[in-house]
Amino acid sequence: MKRLLLFFMCSMVILSSLFAQQKGDYILVIHGGAGTITRQNMTPEKEAVYRSVLQKALETGYAVLKSGKSSIDAVEATIRVLEDDPHFNAGKGAVFTHDGRNELDAAIMNGRTLAAGSVAGVTTIRNPISAARAVMEKSEHVMLIGKGAEQFAKEAGLQIVDPKYFWTKERWDGLQKALKEDSIKAKLDHSFNQQTDQKKLGIINIDYKFGTVGCVALDNNGDLAAGTSTGGMTNKKYGRVGDAPIIGAGTYANNNTVAVSCTGWGEFYIRNVVAHDLSALMEYKGLSVSEAGKTVIEKVGKLGGDGGLIALDKNGNMTMPFNTAGMYRGAIKKDGTIEIYIYN
C-alpha cells in the first residue's frame, strides 16, 4: 500500500512538472494600454495598424532575446518601438496635460538584482524607458523627476528632443475636446467607465483612445525584467504622477516570482501596490501567475478602478488580465509563435 502510494505521488510530480513545462513557453509579453477598446470604435484599417505595431514590438524584443542579450535589453528595445510609434500613449503620441505639455513617465526593473530606475514628468527625453534604465544603471537613485531627470538624461548621453517632437494632432484634439468638456476634472485618457463615481472622475471621457505601454521578458539566463512607459492622463493637472513610474505599483520584477507591467487607472494601482501584490501572492501564498493576476485585478475593481496588466513568471507562464473592454496585448513564445489580442 505504502509503495503504491509512493508510486502514485511520484507520477503526480512528474505529470505536474511536465504540465508546467508545456505551459512555460513564453519569453516576452507586451501591452499597449487597457481601456474602452471596442470593435464598434475601431475600423479594420486602424486595427491592422495596431496589430502590426504590436507585432513589430514583439519581434524586436524576441530578436534581442534570441541574440543572447538580457531581458532588460529586450524590455528596453521593445518599449522603444512602442514609444516611437504615435499610436500609443507613450513617447511620441503621448497625451497632453492641462497646460498642453507632454509629460512622460517610465520605469524599469531588473528581477535578478532588484535594481530599478524610473523617471516622471519628463518633457524632452525621446525615449523615457532608456532614461529609466540609465537611472537604474548610472545613478545612485531609483526615481528622478522633472527638470532634474532631464538634466541627468542629458548627462547620461540620451537623445534629447524638442518637446514638439511628441506632438500629434490626434492627442492635441483630444486635449481640446477634454478642455471644452470639463475644464476642472482630469480624465483618464482611455476610460469610459460609467459605473465609476462621476463626481470623482469628472465627466465621462469622450476620447476613446488608449495608452500606457509595457513589456515583461524572461531571458536565457532565467532573468526576468519589467518596464512601463506612459504619457499619463489627458488634461492632467498639478503635476500628477500615476502608477507607471512607481516601483511596486505599475512596474515590478523579481526572479523569485514574476515580472509585471500594469496599465489603467493609476491611482487605484498605486493604492493597491498592484505589481508587488501580484508577486507577493505568488511568493507568500503560492498562487500561480494567473490566479495572482486575476486576484489583483479583482482588488482594483473592488475599489472602483479599472485597467489591466501583463505578468510573466520565472517558468515562462504568463497572464494578461483586465477588467476593461479591451487591452492591446501580445506575447511571443520561445519558438517564435506570436499571439496578439485587442478585445475582451
Binding site: V142, I246, H276
Partner: protein
C-alpha cells in the same frame, strides 16, 4: 475597549551616543515627546488615526531639529524640496506630494490630496499650485531656513557627495554633533482604523529631482486595516526597490506572520542583504506597535492604551 496606539519616528541612521551632547539629546527627546503627546491626545479624544498622525507629524515638521517641513535639508540648487505621504487603512485612500516648496506642512498637503483631489500623487510646482488653490498654508523661504542645515549644505555644495538622512559616511566631520531625519507616524484609533504617514526634506545636496521612498505608497508609507500601518526611514532607494512597507503587510496577510516577525524579515534580512540602512515603525490591528532598525539609531517614541510606552534614540 478598543486599544489606541500611536508610534512616531524622527529618522534613522548613524546616530551614536558618543556623537551626541546631553543638551541635543534632551532636545530630541523633548521634540519626540511633544509630537507623541499631540498625536495621542487626538486618539484619546476619540479622533481618527489619520488626524492623530497628522497632528503628530505637523509638530515634527514645525520642529527645526527634524528633516521635514521647517528645517528641511537643502538640495544641490540650495532650495528645499519636501515630500510627504499619508494613507488611510480603512479605505486604502492615499495622498502624496513630492518636490514641494514653501508649503508649511507638507503632510497637510498630502492629506488634502487624499481627501479632495482625484489623484494620489502630485509633484513639484503643480502640487504647490494645488496647495494654493486649496488654501494650504505657505511660508516664505526664510521660514524653512536653518543655519545648521544651510552650513551643512554649503560645505558639500560643490562636491558630488550627498548625505542621507542621518548617515555621515561622507560627512563625519560635519555631522559630528548633529543628526538629521525623515519623520513618520502610525496609529490605531478607537474605531479600529489604522493610518500611516511620512514626511521628509530628503537628502542633503540631492540632485536631479531625486524622489525617495517617503512619498511612495507601498515603499515608505502604507496602511491597511487588515494588516498594519508602516512608516519607513533610511536609504530610500533600497526601500523603494524592496517595496518595504507593503511587503510587511503582504507577509502578514499572505503568510500569516506577526507584525514583529514581518518587520524583522524586511528590515533585518531583506534590507540588510541589499545594503539598505534604516528602520521602520509599525502598528497592527490589535494595537501592537513595533519599531525595528538596522542602523545605529532611530529617533522614536510610542504610546498605547495597553500600557506600552517608549522613547528612544539608540539601538
Amino acid at each position: 475597549m478598543q486599544t489606541i496606539t500611536l508610534a512616531i519616528h524622527g529618522g534613522a541612521g548613524t546616530i551614536l551616543k558618543e556623537d551626541m551632547t546631553p543638551e541635543l539629546e534632551q532636545a530630541y527627546y523633548n521634540g519626540l515627546q511633544e509630537a507623541l503627546n499631540g498625536g495621542y491626545a487626538v486618539l484619546e479624544e476619540g479622533g481618527s488615526a489619520v488626524n492623530a498622525i497628522k497632528a503628530a507629524i505637523v509638530i515634527l515638521e514645525d520642529n527645526m531639529l527634524f528633516n521635514a517641513g521647517r528645517g528641511s535639508v537643502f538640495t544641490k540648487k540650495g532650495v528645499q524640496e519636501m515630500d510627504a505621504a499619508i494613507m488611510d487603512g480603512k479605505t486604502l485612500d492615499a495622498g502624496a506630494v513630492t518636490g514641494v516648496r514653501n508649503v508649511r506642512n507638507p503632510i497637510e498637503l498630502a492629506t488634502e490630496v487624499m481627501r479632495n483631489s482625484n489623484h494620489v500623487f502630485l509633484s513639484g510646482k503643480g502640487a504647490t499650485d494645488f496647495a494654493i488653490k486649496q488654501g494650504i498654508k505657505l511660508e516664505p523661504d526664510e521660514y524653512f531656513f536653518s543655519q545648521f542645515r544651510y552650513d551643512q549644505w554649503k560645505a558639500i555644495r560643490d562636491s558630488d557627495n550627498y548625505s542621507l538622512d542621518h548617515t555621515h559616511q561622507h560627512l563625519e566631520e560635519l555631522m559630528k554633533d548633529k543628526k538629521f531625519g525623515t519623520v513618520g507616524a502610525v496609529a490605531l484609533d478607537a474605531e479600529g482604523n489604522i493610518a500611516a504617514a511620512t514626511s521628509t526634506g530628503g537628502m542633503t545636496n540631492k540632485k536631479y529631482g531625486r524622489i525617495g521612498d517617503s512619498p511612495i505608497i507601498g515603499s515608505g508609507t502604507y496602511a491597511n486595516n487588515k494588516t498594519c500601518g508602516i512608516s519607513c526611514t533610511g536609504h530610500g532607494e533600497m526601500f523603494i526597490r524592496s517595496v518595504a512597507a507593503y511587503d510587511v503587510s503582504c507577509l502578514m496577510e499572505y503568510k500569516g506572520m506577526s507584525l514583529k516577525d514581518a518587520m524583522e524579515v524586511v528590515v533585518n534580512e531583506k534590507l540588510v542583504k541589499m545594503g539598505g540602512e534604516g528602520g521602520m515603525i509599525g502598528v497592527d490591528a490589535r494595537g501592537n506597535a513595533v519599531m525595528v532598525l538596522n542602523s545605529a539609531g532611530m529617533y522614536r517614541a510610542g504610546r498605547s492604551s495597553n500600557g506600552w510606552n517608549e522613547l528612544a534614540i539608540y539601538k
